[in-house]
Point group: C2
Chain length 337, copies 2
């Protein structure tokens, strides 16, 4: 059994912990957190050994009635791999600790690409992570773009990608984020950083991205244009995408007009936390005009990278190939709407 440490138990970490627990070949060795809150209490309720990410604050957990198994260093030492799910920039600070204990580490998309040996998307470049010590699982948006671009490159070749990412202002729990009643170019400079991030997965890709922020918390929405290297009928592209396990084509009959109904569907389906791990592509939106392909896709920022983290664990340790790992992860998590 692969012993997995999870450092950072917030939006991503808690989801990765739950997903790891479902894997037949993995065990959650423990989770580390900086301070007690409702998430720390839930971790204890779920039986995850809880470690203190900052030793000086360990007392706070005792004051909150939460038992601490030890400092995060003990957890990193005992694990075969650590998933760093700390806020952007903290992963970089933690790198030397992971190196000190010789524990391979996965970081999240908020870290710089040059912190790691390779960036990772299971569908696109699984094998690049084999044996790597430091791997970055790319962000929710980059994951969502990569999953769509990989099959298009393989099937038709991609001349250029242009994408407008209409991003949620914050996650549902981030109560101090904006905007209210506004649409912000964000970043206002073009192209945004998202395109170069996708190029960490496909280094020869021509892609320009534009970002905005809007008053929504549920999901991001991508307006995607891919100029293909050949003219293709839209129905062919729909068939191509239908074969992809992490692309969900929203059928017209479902009458799902936006992220609200998508999330409600996921909750009705009994998904944990209403998570939507797949790219959600509106089937009606898949259109071609000459060699230009267009589509809309919803990307659930809180969860689409979770199966990618699970796959990255196997990739780093060389425990499975892409196909085997993706299949196991999908089956255990229930991916494939």
């Amino acid at each position: 059994m692969i012993q997995v440490a999870i450092n950072g138990y917030g939006t991503i970490g808690k989801r990765v912990a739950d997903a790891v627990r479902e894997q037949p070949d993995m065990e959650v060795r423990g989770v580390a957190k900086t301070r007690p809150n409702f998430e720390a209490e839930t971790a204890v309720d779920k039986g995850f050994p809880l470690y203190a990410a900052v030793e000086e604050r360990a007392d706070q957990f005792a004051d909150a009635g939460l038992e601490i198994a030890g400092p995060v260093e003990d957890l990193v030492d005992a694990a075969d791999v650590v998933v760093d799910a700390t806020p952007s920039g903290i992963g970089a600070e933690n790198k030397s600790m992971y190196e000190a204990y010789d524990t391979p580490a996965l970081y999240q998309g908020g870290e710089d690409a040059d912190l790691v040996d390779t960036s990772f998307n299971a569908r696109s470049n699984f094998e690049d992570a084999t044996g790597a010590d430091h791997v970055r699982v790319v962000s929710c948006n980059t994951t969502g773009l990569s999953r769509v671009i990989a099959p298009l490159r393989e099937a038709y070749g991609v001349e250029k990608v242009r994408a407008t990412l209409v991003r949620r202002g914050g996650d549902p729990g981030q109560t101090s984020r904006g905007p209210i009643n506004d649409i912000l170019p964000n970043p206002v400079t073009i192209p945004s950083h998202h395109g170069p991030d996708v190029e960490t997965i496909f280094d020869d890709l021509d892609i320009d991205t534009l970002g905005m922020k809007v008053p929504a918390t549920l999901m991001h929405m991508h307006s995607l244009n891919v100029t293909l290297e050949e003219e293709v009928d839209a129905s062919e592209v729909r068939d191509l995408f239908a074969e992809e396990s992490r692309l969900f084509l929203i059928p017209e009959r479902m009458d799902i007009d936006g992220s609200g109904k998508l999330k409600e569907y996921a909750l009705d389906a009994g998904r944990p936390r209403g998570d939507v791990w797949e790219n959600c592509i509106w089937e009606e939106s898949i259109s071609t005009v000459g060699d230009d392909l267009y589509l809309f896709q919803g990307i659930h920022q809180e969860s689409d990278v979770v199966p990618e983290n699970v796959d990255a664990i196997r990739a780093v340790l060389g425990e499975a190939d892409a196909e085997e790992s993706i299949e196991t992860t999908n089956e255990t998590m229930g991916i494939g709407l």
Copy 2:
């Protein structure tokens, strides 16, 4: 003096009435409304003769203490031109009335393009409207796109336009519109109707548009990509746009990050109703990657067509050429931030 009738005194009609009143060569002959409300009261307060758009409802005005000058037919008969600013589809129903009184009519962008002799944007095709009986002033979004495309076509040639229109859910006064906390592909099918609408202004243009709706009321936001026929430096494009009187380039020093601050700036500047008649292009966003130009622009849905309606009045009656009319309209309204 050109006698102008305004049929429909809502979001657009009331603004056109105020703008017409500022013109040295025009007079508001009267405004017509279907029912009494706060806008009807304001019309009377401003001294605009008020006509009943639906004769059977004329009593309602009397009940509300508002004096009616007569039925809308009297107004149409007395005017040299009528601006139809009624809700989408009603303009088409009114067409036969305007024909019966032989009064040339301007319609708004919600009407079908085939209702009229020509669609109109002052910067792009002013002369097409000369002597026409029925002219459609294109929608706020189409106006915003046309104003940018016209100079680019003239200076560099345009190979293809791709635009994502992130649209406000409703106007500030439309209290029953959505969405709340959502991002909707709208229409979900691609391309949206906006591209063909721009083609009513430039009939040989290659343009694909995608639409969304978000929980904002202040302005639309366009994420625009124009593939030019030559490679151009972004600074050249900025200089080109700086010459255009209805394009406002938001300078970085102003620290305006979205529609909220834009509207606040317009209110601080004493603009009536805080109107923003110009396209608002973030100067920092103007970027070129090879022959691809990108930018973000905010479009004030309530007001950017108002100066266009004023210009269309002169165009239809042959009272001025494009340059003279645009200059007069700009000066009297105070356009040019």
